[in-house]
């Protein structure tokens, strides 16, 4: 092994180990390095507060948008956390409206393409939902409270 090769390998070792320790010590994330903080913060409250999208069918039923095929590649973690971040940063403004409108567009596009079997929707609503957390989530359809944040009708989706 040549000296230059040895140097290169040591630089690589230093980069991987140093990058990992830097994020651990400074408690930051610089993907693909991370301090891996998932699940680290203790939950003290038995109440789960979560942002959730509900679709509104032509007969005015509200259906929770939780099936993973509905809005792929957005999922039930990335989507609500993203929406919450937008809401916390800019409130109930145009960016949140655009994000929900995009969800409705995506849902309908995928439904029309046969990529999921959800019902047709005439609107998409974003709620902040609170549940008293119980085993087996037996109350998932009966949350403690819901607050409507945005209501986007299909006509306005563009």
């Amino acid at each position: 092994m040549s000296k230059s090769r040895l140097l290169l390998i040591h630089l690589l070792i230093a980069g991987v180990v140093g990058g990992s320790f830097y994020d651990i010590v400074t408690r930051q994330e610089h993907w693909p390095f991370s301090n891996y903080p998932m699940f680290a913060r203790v939950h003290r409250s038995p109440v789960l507060s979560w942002f959730r999208l509900f679709g509104v069918t032509p007969d005015n039923r509200e259906v929770p948008i939780v099936d993973h095929t509905y809005l792929w590649p957005l999922d039930q973690s990335r989507l609500p956390i993203g929406l919450r971040a937008v809401y916390q940063a800019e409130g109930n403004g145009p960016r949140l409206h655009d994000a929900v409108a995009d969800a409705l567009r995506r849902y309908e596009q995928r439904r029309e393409a046969g990529l999921h079997k959800g019902p047709e929707l005439r609107a998409m609503r974003l709620y902040s939902v609170d549940w008293d957390v119980v085993p087996y989530a037996t109350n998932v359809d009966k949350p403690k409270s819901r607050t409507l944040l945005v209501d986007v009708p299909r006509e306005n989706r563009q």
Partner: protein, 312 residues
């Protein structure tokens, strides 16, 4: 000082068999190619920019968000490169393409809403392997070389076949260690003495993860304090102590199995999709021993000892 340097050298550069790295490469990239084959990255191309929260990597390198058509083309090249890296065809070039495109494609989704952690280690492994001589054994490149030069010798044991494996395993150990430290640093002993894990196992039943739990056993566990306290303590111990697997031959197998159990448990009970993270464990296996054991397997069982031995 000399002793320290010797230990350093022993750890990273003690000669290893080319098959250890070659077979790991074959299986790692091969299984990743199969895993990602049905995955379509082009969907990210038309996600609303309203969700955009750029990763530092994308922001600082000014990486654009490509259209669905461009992403589709990129993923085809990437998946082909995964396959050619697996079989060892133009190995170095293939792995470099896997690393460059893989960093972009795997990182892309993390710009929207939330940064997940299940593929970051894969990206580090891509880059480490891109600098390695992973194609020196069990590869089409070697086969072609031997065909054109019939007298060519087989690759001998060499430091080049150890350091990439060690660095990938160190990176993996630091992932577990970071997760354990984050829990202790953020929440202290409350993480395992409170009912936090019980609440966590119940919360994930409400469709809040990137995938739903495979089983609802988490709810059962959450109603038995001894179970969730035991699991919480076990989690923190395994995560924080995982690096010991790098140095202790006696604890290596139990720690690696415990780490696999943790990841499987997270997927089954909580949802997050860490399946492909498990593939990193391929680098723990001393493949040259497995390969040499195969012909005699029927006659006598062969114990698979860990690849990384304690410094002598």
């Amino acid at each position: 000082m000399t002793r320290l340097l010797n230990r350093w050298w022993e750890f990273w550069f003690r000669p290893a068999e080319a098959a250890d790295l070659g077979v790991a490469r074959l299986l790692f990239f091969g299984l990743l190619a199969l895993f990602y084959l049905p995955y379509d990255f082009s969907g990210w191309g038309d996600v609303s920019r309203a969700y955009l929260q750029p990763l530092w990597l994308f922001q600082n390198l000014h990486l654009p968000l490509f259209s669905p058509t461009t992403l589709h083309a990129m993923q085809i090249v990437w998946k082909i490169a995964l396959a050619t890296a697996a079989v060892g065809l133009l190995t170095r070039l293939s792995i470099v393409v896997v690393a460059v495109l893989g960093t972009y494609l795997l990182g892309l989704g993390h710009n929207f809403g939330q940064t997940y952690h299940f593929d970051a280690l894969l990206v580090l492994a891509f880059w480490i392997l891109a600098f390695s001589r992973a194609g020196d054994a069990w590869s089409v490149d070697t086969w072609r070389r031997r065909t054109s030069h019939p007298g060519a010798a087989e690759a001998q044991a060499d430091p080049e076949y150890r350091w990439p494996i060690q660095l990938i395993l160190v990176a993996q150990a630091l992932v577990f260690f970071a997760a354990g430290v984050a829990k202790l640093w953020t929440s202290g002993s409350e993480w395992f003495v409170s009912n936090h894990l019980a609440l966590l196992l119940q919360r994930v039943q409400y469709n809040i993860s990137d995938a739903d739990p495979l089983v609802s056993w988490g709810s059962y566990i959450s109603t038995h304090a001894w179970l969730y306290h035991g699991m919480a303590i076990g989690t923190v111990i395994v995560e924080t102590a995982y690096p010991v697997a790098l140095f202790s031959r006696r604890l290596r197998v139990p720690m690696v199995l415990a780490g696999i159990g943790l990841v499987v448990g997270i997927r089954a009970l909580m949802g997050p999709t860490f399946e492909h993270f498990l593939l990193i464990n391929l680098f723990w296996v001393p493949w040259h021993r497995v390969v040499s054991a195969v012909p005699v397997r029927a006659r006598r069982p062969v114990a698979i000892a860990p690849l990384v031995e304690e410094p002598r």
